[in-house]
């Protein structure tokens, strides 16, 4: 199934094609492919080059996968059971340089996930991020130090058919994509005043 961005504008094919499926085939991406995907995150930009991103990655059948799965809320477990890769993102809360809080750490980790997603798409692999997890449980299961914070979980794999999912998820998988209009997010002069770029 394809589910491209609904736009008349010519976006880069990766951005136009990308979406967050819930159905995956059983095929496990090979190690070299996964290495390239995380190398992409490594080269993301970050505030003062702090690189606050860390990842714990599980492959279906291993203990890490089971533990990531355990932390997911019921809703996510119902579909993520299909994902050949389950991982969590973690952020370093303090600056490595100044020993003060790094106020950009979640922003930068979010950005690194986009780099993971772009390189994954290049490898024909789709990413589905999840905020629905028990981050405290994850911190405990994975021995995450106090000065780090578990942020999201994410599933990766080759896209599967919607029919692999339970009924209500199959419907969601096929539902139309929705976004706020560009004129409501792009401003000039002051907040809420639509930019001339949009017209």
């Amino acid at each position: 199934m394809e589910k491209p961005a609904i736009t008349d504008l010519k976006l880069h094919p990766i951005l136009n094609t990308r979406w967050s499926p819930r159905s995956f085939t059983t095929q496990v991406p090979d190690k070299e492919t996964l290495k390239r995907i995380f190398e992409a995150a490594r080269w993301a930009p970050s505030s003062s080059n702090e690189q606050p991103w860390r990842f714990i990655v599980g492959i279906k059948g291993d203990k890490t996968w089971d533990n990531v799965f355990e932390t997911l809320v019921d809703f996510n477990q119902k579909w993520a059971r299909l994902a050949p890769v389950l991982a969590i993102s973690i952020g370093k809360k303090m600056s490595s340089k100044s020993n003060r809080p790094n106020k950009s750490f979640t922003y930068d980790v979010g950005q690194s996930l986009a780099y993971i997603t772009f390189q994954a798409m290049q490898e024909d692999i789709y990413v589905h991020q999840m905020g629905g997890l028990d981050t405290e449980k994850a911190a405990e299961l994975f021995n995450v130090p106090e000065d780090y914070q578990v942020i999201t979980a994410f599933a990766m794999g080759y896209k599967g058919e919607p029919e692999l999912l339970e009924d209500n998820f199959e419907e969601m998988e096929k539902a139309k994509r929705q976004r706020i209009e560009l004129k409501e997010i792009l401003f000039e002069g002051e907040f809420g005043n639509t930019s001339a770029i949009v017209s």
Copy 2:
């Protein structure tokens, strides 16, 4: 000047080429180009599809550009004076659906900036994000509502020669890129235990 990622792995050309220059030519990207760049952000993923990202965009010579520039710390003003586009990113703090705090809003806005960057690179435009700004001043100058938060500023434009910059910035522009090793950010089993993907 080119400044590619220092890696033996085959990254997507955009990810390999991307970096955050401080020197820009005077050429202003046209409106259609800028529209595509922000349309890319619009199609980024977000927690519960909240789409918490908002942008205020200034073009050199207009009042918005001047106001963004005003909010920048001295260090950033010294180079950002060259940028034909200066913008700020803003996040919606509360969920639109539940009226509770959206704990993913900075993560999602960070992610949207990666989409902006990726589409910009496709248009031969480079992005340089900045945490060094007075966010309270920006909120005041742009009338940003209480339930929104100014997060970063960013410069965009076509890459210029390093010689356009003041001496110390020219050196920084030419400095070697640095990243933590992959084995120090990619784990399995528990935090700190290097993933077999790396070996």
